[in-house]
Symmetry: C2
């Protein structure tokens, strides 16, 4: 598909030269298409970057959710969290570079909001991992632990695009789990108040109707499977006012949850419903 190709080539350029410094011209040249053709797929440069973020983050979020909820990994949750994250970084080094180095410096409010939604979701996941895997930890230390874990992901994630640093995924994750366990067991002086994440987690986790609509529309363009496609379209219609019964909605969400490509979308929809 055209959109996919543009996103891939654009991502390469963004990673190499930066988002601001990459022009639509350069992207279309690299794709071998015209400028007009670009605007048939995306209505602006901002929509492009938003699509890229959504595509990768929803994939990563869905993978993490799956790994963390898999009973097979019950005693191993933190390792799984690190592993899925870093495996994604390894596979998509270009995205990792954009995500770690550039995104924090962007000022588009819509983009910031979107990233905060994903970040809030991941924060919640990490909290639940800590509660399950380190239940004996002092509750005052939990926010700190979450902060440290996210810091580890961010900092050690940079290794994947430093050329002279070749990383063994398993060793890296094992080492980070060890570090986290040690801190969970021994650290006693909290920096962050327990409610530090409260605002971001509770207020942001539910998307607005507009945000949800945008995600759905994007997924409709991304997805090929007819069942998933119709499910997405019906839910979009429901949001627009064509009321559906609760049983139908629940079934449609089950459809979406069954595929890794739409699992995150389903959970986002559910969070919206709950917030209403």
């Amino acid at each position: 598909m055209k959109k996919q190709m543009i996103m891939e080539k654009a991502l390469e350029l963004f990673a190499k030269n930066g988002f601001e410094a990459t022009s639509i011209q350069q992207i279309t040249e690299k794709c071998g298409i015209s400028k007009g053709a670009f605007y048939l797929s995306f209505k602006s440069k901002d929509e492009l970057i938003l699509s890229i973020i959504d595509h990768f983050m929803s994939t990563i979020a869905a993978e993490i959710e799956r790994a963390v909820n898999d009973d097979q990994h019950a005693g191993d949750l933190l390792y799984q969290y690190y592993f899925v994250f870093f495996r994604a970084y390894e596979r998509h080094a270009d995205f990792a570079k954009l995500f770690i180095k550039e995104l924090s410096a962007m000022f588009n409010p819509e983009l910031i909001e979107r990233i905060l939604v994903y970040h809030a979701h991941l924060t919640k996941v990490v909290f639940s991992i800590i509660e399950r895997q380190f239940p004996q930890t002092n509750s005052k230390m939990r926010a700190d632990l979450v902060f440290v874990i996210q810091g580890f992901v961010k900092n050690y994630g940079e290794l994947f695009f430093i050329d002279h640093a070749s990383v063994d995924l398993h060793e890296l994750c094992t080492a980070l789990v060890e570090k986290t366990e040690i801190l969970a067991r021994h650290a006693a002086i909290p920096v962050l108040a327990p409610e530090f994440f409260a605002m971001s987690v509770h207020e942001r986790i539910a998307p607005t109707k507009e945000q949800l609509m945008e995600v759905l529309m994007r997924k409709i363009n991304e997805i090929d499977d007819p069942i998933l496609l119709e499910s997405l379209e019906l839910l979009t219609g429901h949001l627009r006012g064509a009321a559906l019964s609760p049983a139908i909605i629940q079934g449609l969400l089950k459809n979406l949850s069954s595929s890794p490509h739409t699992k995150w979308t389903a959970s986002l929809y559910q969070k919206y419903e709950v917030s209403q």
Copy 2:
């Protein structure tokens, strides 16, 4: 001084709107000067950002060097490192924001080189702190510890520009020292090879003649004290070929070392000399 004022106002705008998104126009308007006047002080936008980086980083590097070499803090080195860094962030939140969020996304090669020089210097300092304060630590873990410490500084540094997070400097540093100590004592699985930092530290620590000249020229414009000024000018002349005797040079460097504003410049000069 005009330069100082431009740097301050520009830094405010950079922190608020980003470096790329801030135009010279905006800066001159905020300063109440004309566009031409800007170019009397700086020959380009890049020179401006470089001056800002140099100004703050050399100050911070000098403060850290002083604190770490002060015998009074011998058992307390890591705390001092964190403290000086975060105190600087607290005082100069605008710079902290620029430094943490934006600098990593910049692609100007000269700027990258400059930041790597400072980074290499700080890395060396952290290594020496670890050697002195945690001498019993497994030598294979040292690179990891350095990486973790720098990560702590970066991640917890972000707290200083999150509005709803008010931080007590002493508590923060105490907590981070505790975390670092715990990891130094118990962590046993290294991620980074001991030579991980080797390249950056050994190859980058000595500036090129041109870099050194630029720093000297910048300091000449910044400094008022006549003794320091003359010392800088004589050393610049020496670099240009007007040979001075070793005793004179050493004396001039002593002059520079006596002021926090030029201490880092002096050590940079010494590193250049050693590398010749």
